[in-house]
Structure formats: C-alpha cells, structure tokens
Amino acid sequence: MAELTVENLHLRYGDNPILKGVSMNLDRGEVVSLLGPSGSGKTTLLRAVAGLETPHEGAIRIGERVVFDSAAAIELPAEHRNLGLVFQSYALWPHKTVYDNVAYGLRLRKVPQAEAAERVGQVLAQLGLGPLGARYPHQLSGGQQQRVAIARALVYNPPVILLDEPLSNLDAKLREEARAFLRELIVRLGLSALVVTHDQSEAMAMSDRILLLNNGRIEQQGTPQEMYGSPRTLFVAEFMGSNNRLAGRVAEVRDGRARIEGEGWSLWGTPKGETAPGREVNAVIRIEQVKLGDGPEGNRLRLPLSTSMYLGDKWEHLFRLGATALRAHGTGDLAPGEYWLEFPPDRLWLF
C-alpha cells in the first residue's frame, strides 16, 4: 500500500522548468532513493513533497490524504503534512538544546510533558544520543548532529520520513558507518523513507528502490540490482557505475546480438532496444566485467598496456584503443606489452 504517491508533478522557477511530470510512489516500509546529478530536480521533488515548494501542476497524496492537487486547488502547508524531514545541513536550531530540538514536534502536537520526555528519551537512546540531551548543537560532532536531526524528524512518528542528502556533510569514513547505521535503523523501525542523494553507491546500499532523475524526469526506476545490472539507457548505465565506453557502428545483427565495429576493432554485444546495421552506437561495459584473456578466441581485443595503478585490494590497468582509454581490473601487476582483453557479449551493452 502506497504511503506516498506523486502524480505528474510539474514545477518551475520563473521560466525555468525543474520538474517536468514526475510520478512515483513509496510503499509502507520501503526506502526509495531519489538519485540524479545536480540540477536533475531531486531535491525540488523532495521539497515539493514536504510542502516547501509549490508545484504548478500535479498531485501529491500521503496515504489517503491529498496534500496537493493543482486541479482541485488543494495545497496543505508544510506544517499540516505531518512528515519528518532531515535537512542536508541538519538545520538544528542553534538556540535550543538537543532535547528541545527533538521535543519541539511533540510540543507542537500538544503531547503531555511526561510522555514527551519519555518519547524523546526513547528516540535519543535508539539513535545512540542518550546522554547528550542537555547539549547544544554546536557542542556535537557532525555525526551526532546528523543523528539529532534524524531523531527530530522521527519523534512524532511521521508516516514518511524525508532525508535530503543525509550523508553528504560527513567525511568519507564516517559516511560509510552512517550509511549502514541509517539503513539498519530504517529497517529496524520499519520506516517509510524517501532519500535524496547524488551518490549511486549510497543509493544502492540504502534503498529498496531507486528513482533516477534526469533533467526533471524519471529516467528509470527499479531495485538497485535492476538499476545496476540492466540499465535501459546510456544515462542510467553511465550514472550507476564505472564503465568503459566505446563508440562505433553496428555491422550486423544476429540472434539478439549485434556486432559493432570501430577503427581496427570489432566486438559482439547486446543491444538495448531496437537496432539495425549502420547505426551509430555506444558500447558500454562495467570495468569489473572486462577480463584479461590468454588468447584471441572469444569476444576479445589485443591492446597495449599504457599504465597500471595499485588500488589496494586490486590493480587497475589502463589500455589504449586509438584515442580511447579502456580500464580493466586485475589481481597483480602486469609487465609492459600487449594483452588480450575479453568483453563478455551479454555484458557489453549497446545503446
């Protein structure tokens, strides 16, 4: 059952369209990420759901409640939507203690003092902030501040919690911990969450479903596996992972495969969508799918090694194909020379 439904949402700033007809839903207990490059409209969509931006067309429902409907001229102000919102900057009120920050939503809902104290204590404990209630935000570390912001959004049990780039203000090490913590918390508490992020690995790690936005539209949505493993467009393929990319022309199509040719090379791949000989296409393959082979048989090319980089858990090798650089992973260092690279045809997507 959908906790949150967005239908055909349009929004513009002045003459500049930001959202161009976005529809989505969020089921109970589900974590959905809004992913996309900056300017794709993901934050705007989140803010429109929260009631902080006014779309000019479309509808938003929370559960059964219509909170926005342009056709019916309904717009519930932010404070009546009963959502939890965690800001990128956390937006903790600097003049209130941690306790008061968290308790504010309960005070607004006229929860009796004693009960409020209990609920705040509970949520602070859940988030590992137990003893920090009397502190002021500036006395906390970044990670603690983030957890206060989450506590503040959770304390009044909103049906949906919205998180705007929740991890981007943390440093790299803390970010991985927080990511796991957040995922674990959401699952444990059975929350329905909408998370905005620009980092695809964060999106994959945290969410049940990903909506990839591009230029005000949803480019593709699906589970992390679908998004990573079977992108439907070049944009999705490029956004979701690290790839090698070759430009060429389709030479022949046979048995659901197509052969693509470039200058001095030719490979079999899997076309995504309609294709026909003579068409200009991009061949894309995830770096980790490229394998070093020992001979010419199979879907292989012989290329000169230009350099190797040590990444700690593996090596990355750079090969040259004309002006294009191709990358492959390996377990050890390679001597200079030419090597056979294998491109499994079902992993080489043609767009």
Partner: protein, 560 residues
C-alpha cells in the same frame, strides 16, 4: 493557491496598517499641493497654482540644483568611505576596533544643527582652529560656508548610515572569498574593492539611496552653514516658504515636497532594477563557516590613518567646538580663552528642571519608543520575510518614501492626520502620536536593519520547524525571533540613536512634560542662548555616549 485565514490575516493587517501610516500623511501632502489654500480652509480651490508658483521662482531651481549637488556628492563620499570603514572594522585585524566603533556612531545621534554649529565654532572664519592656524601658519585655508564644504561635511557625517548596513552585510560574507583573493596576490584594500564590497552591493546600493534621500531632506546643516552665504537647498527653501508670503503657504510647501518625492522615488526603482533577478549576490548566504580576520600588515597605517582622519574631521572637530563653546562666555577673534572660561552654562542647565527633563524624556522616547518601534518593524519584517510576492514588493517601495519628505512638512502632515482623522484624535496629545511619526519617517532605516537580521537566519531552520508541524507564527516565535534577538538588540540601539536627535517630525505633536531636547535646542537657539545650547548638547552627547558604552559593555552588539 489558498492559505488559511489564520496565516493571511495578521499579515494583511500589518501591511494595511503600515500602508495607512505611510500613505495617509503622504496623500494629504499630495492633495494639499493641488490646492491654493490650506486644505481645511473653506476658500480653497483645486488647481496647479502652487506648482506654477514654485516653478516660476528662480530660488526653487537654485535650491533644487544645490540639493541635487549636495545629495549626490555626499552619497559619493559616504558610500565608499562607509563601505571601507566597515571592511576595516569587520574583516581586518586592526587594533582598537572596540573603542573606535562607538566613535563611528557619534555623528548619528548628535543633532545636525548642533554638529554644524560645532563646525562654526571650531573651523568657522573666527573659529578656534582657524584662529590658531592663522597665528601659527599665517592662514586657515578652509571655508565652511560653501556647497563644497557642506557636501563634504554631510558626506562625512553620513558615513555611519552606510557603515551600519555594510558591516551587517559583511558579517554574512564567508571569509573564503576574501582569502581566495588574498592568495591570488591582492592587497587588503584590493580585496575590499574587488571582492568584499562588490559582493555586498545590495546593501551599499540601499544605503546609497537612503543617503541620497537624507541629502534631499538635510535641514540643520544647510541652515547653519548655507544661510550665511545665502545658499538655499530644498528644505531651507521650504522653510523660507513658510514666511515668504507672510502666512505659511502649505500648498507651496507641499508642492516642493511632491517634487522631492518625484525626483527621489525613481531611485528606489533604479536600485531595484539594478538588483533585479541577480542571483550573483545569493552566494553570500550559503557559506558561513568560521570568520577569519584579514591581517593588514603594513596597510594598518593607512587604514588607521583613514579612520583617524575621519574621526578627527567628523567627530573631534565639531565636538571640540561644542565643548569649548560650552565652557566659555564668549569666543572669537581677539578673545583670550583663559579670560572667558566659565561653568555657568552648566549651572544654568542643571538649575533648569525642564532641560534635564528634556534630556531624560529624549532618552526615554529613544529607549522605550525605540523598543516599540523595533517591535513594529519586526512585525513588518515578518510580514514580508521570505515571501517574494507583490505585497512584499509594495512594502519595500513604501518604506523609503516617507524619508523623502522634509521633516518640517512631515511634522505638519502628521498633525493634520491626527486632527482630521477622527479615530486618531484621542491619541493626538499622547506620546503615541510623536512616536508614530518617528517610526514612520525612519521606516526605511529601521526596516533594513531588521530584514538584514532576518536574512541571516538560514531558511532551512525555519523550514525544519514547519515540517515539524509549526504554523508560520510559531516558526517566527520559536525559531526566527530567538535567532535574531542580538540583531534586534543592535537595531534597538541604532533606532534609539536616530530618535535621540530627531524632533522636527514630532514638533507639532509634543506636549508639556514631554518636551524633547531637539525642540528645546531650537527654541533656545532662536532666543540667542547659544551658550546653553552648547552646554545642553554636550551633556546630552556625554549621556548618550556613556549609555552607548554601557550597552556595548553589557554585550549588546551593534550587529549580530
């Protein structure tokens, strides 16, 4: 889309009250300018006679030209200097900033008439400094009775008006942009002119427009320094019109005021046009981070020199003139100061209960009235805060206009409003009426202080409260207001200072027991008791300065 009535009503009410308070006297003035007699006179008739008269009067055009020159010139002096002072005070490591700051504000609370008189005593043809200079160097190569001198003095004494806004804006500017320029090889002043000041352009433009308005409204200064040479400006021309035809000619005065508004108002439009849609300055808000002071290095001598020179010319010279005058019976060419020293002037002030009462009343109006005013400005600020609709723009335009009307006529217009608008009649002879008049004419000054405080509050802090379920008024009460409280305290102090010297606006609304020092100074001046004027002014300056010092000491910051 619709919003709930509980949301819109208080806002609509605030805007309505503001609009009425501003437009009622203004429309009365406009109406009066289209008549040929006082509007309450049964013999009045509608016509353009008033405009015909002033347009045919060469004095009007002369005054107009002079006002334009002075207003323009003083803006050109005050804005760069004010911006630079703000930069040095706010962003650099110059030592002694703590005690310089109260000094920077002195010209803003001393009555301009008294300040100008200070210049006469100090640097006039037979002033103390002029006489000394002639004895020591054989000449005093300056004159204070010229358009140029008036422009320079007006420009220098209006520096605080720019300084206040510029320093508030600089507070908001992250220091990273300046450091970037520094690393690229710019000297501190290069940084100021090429990075910091351009980035606070909205504040500078606003203060520029305000100073220009104040330039047209200038009265005390041209009265004291322009009169001897017969240099007329619009407000002294207006003053002349009260008696030129025997009985006060309200229609002529009103026509002049309408002309001033007509000339100055386009500036507001221009200012908005220049800033329209420019997201260039928006970058200011995002990054706050830790503020680091820019080391001045060897430039500190130059910075210190500029500040020192400014303080000397615009604070020490006039104040020392007033101070000296307060301690002598007479002065001038051929007078040995040692022979004329006296404390009688202070004794007279002390013995005269109304004078001390005047000082206390003024301070009281400044303190209590200023607090109320800041409260009202804050309400108006909230009515337009983060709402970029037509009403907010309307209020933006509205607030600047009253300051374009010279105090002489504004005071009269307020009297008319209180007399001829029946619901207000009972309030006429209460302090409320005077307070309202002050608050209306200084709207532009105060509103900008409030709104710059409001803009310092990150929008997310307010949005966070809204999504937690707080309606707008609770967001304002629980989040925004506590966050800007230091800014409001500072605004209170600044509003107190301008109220301290204001009087002409309320002269018709004051009653016995509520006499303010400004009015007393003028009537003493009229009767020739200039020794008492000097002593009274000095006592007043000292009291306010001490109060200011105490306030700053107890943690009231001028800017947040």
């Amino acid at each position: 889309m619709r919003a709930s009535a509980a949301e819109t009503l208080p806002r609509a009410f605030t805007i309505l009250v503001t609009a009425t308070a501003v437009l009622a006297p203004l429309s009365l003035i406009l109406y009066q300018s289209l008549l040929n007699a006082p509007f309450f006179d049964a013999r009045k008739a509608i016509g353009l006679d008033a405009y015909r008269f002033i347009f045919a009067d060469p004095d009007f055009w002369q005054a107009f030209k002079n006002s334009g020159l002075i207003a323009g010139g003083m803006t050109l002096i005050a804005v760069p200097l004010g911006g630079l002072l703000a930069f040095v005070m706010e962003r650099t490591d110059l030592s002694g900033r703590g005690w310089i700051e109260p000094l920077l504000l002195v010209p803003s609370f001393v009555s301009p008439m008294v300040l100008s008189f200070g210049y006469v005593v100090a640097a006039g043809p037979v002033g103390f400094y002029s006489v000394w200079s002639r004895e020591l160097f054989g000449g005093a190569p300056w004159g204070i009775y010229s358009i140029l001198a008036m422009t320079v003095i007006a420009g220098l004494t209006h520096v605080p008006n720019v300084y206040v806004y510029a320093s508030a804006a600089l507070k908001n500017l992250g220091s990273d942009v300046e450091e970037a320029a520094r690393v690229a090889g710019a000297s501190p002043f290069r940084v100021a002119f090429s990075v910091s000041l351009p980035l606070i352009m909205p504040s500078l433009l606003f203060s520029g427009v305000l100073v220009f308005f104040l330039g047209f409204e200038l009265f005390g200064l041209p009265l004291v320094l322009g009169d001897p040479e017969g240099i007329l400006v619009l407000s002294t021309y207006l003053f002349k019109l009260t008696n030129k035809l025997g009985t006060p000619s309200y229609h002529l005065m009103a026509a002049v005021a309408v002309c001033i508004v007509a000339v100055t108002f386009p500036l507001v439009l221009l200012q908005r046009q220049l800033l329209k849609g420019s997201r260039k300055y928006a970058s200011i808000k995002g990054k706050s981070g830790r503020m680091r002071e820019l080391p001045l290095g060897g430039w500190k001598w130059l910075a210190g020199g500029v500040i020192g020179a400014w303080i000397f010319v615009s604070v020490l010279v006039p104040l020392s003139g007033i101070a000296l005058r307060a301690f002598v019976t007479n002065w001038g060419e051929g007078v040995r100061l040692a022979e004329v020293l006296t404390l009688d002037n202070f004794r007279s002030v002390w013995e005269e209960p109304t004078m001390m009462r005047g000082i206390w009343n003024t301070i009281l109006i400044g303190v209590v009235g200023g607090l109320l005013t800041v409260a009202c400005y804050t309400a108006i600020g909230f009515a337009t805060h983060r709402r970029n609709d037509g009403w907010s723009r309307f209020v933006d335009y509205l607030v600047l206009v009253p300051r374009a009307v010279p105090g002489l006529l504004a005071g009269l217009a307020f009297l008319w409003v209180f007399l001829f608008f029946p619901p207000l009649r009972p309030l006429r002879s209460t302090l409320f009426s005077g307070w309202l008049a002050y608050s209306v004419v200084w709207l532009a000054y105060g509103m900008r202080l409030i709104s710059s405080s409001l803009l310092q509050v990150s929008p997310e802090l307010e949005e966070a409260a809204r999504s937690a379920g707080a309606p707008r008024w609770r967001v304002s009460r629980d989040v925004t207001l506590p966050l800007i409280r230091y800014g409001l305290l500072g605004s209170w102090l600044l509003v107190f200072m301008i109220f301290e010297r204001e009087y002409s606006t309320a002269v018709y609304l004051l009653a016995p027991g509520t006499e303010v020092i400004g009015a007393q100074l003028v009537s003493l001046w009229q009767g020739g008791a200039i020794d008492l004027v000097a002593a009274l002014s000095l006592v007043n300056v000292v009291l306010v300065a001490v109060g200011l010092g105490i306030a700053l000491r107890f943690g009231v910051r001028l800017r947040d």
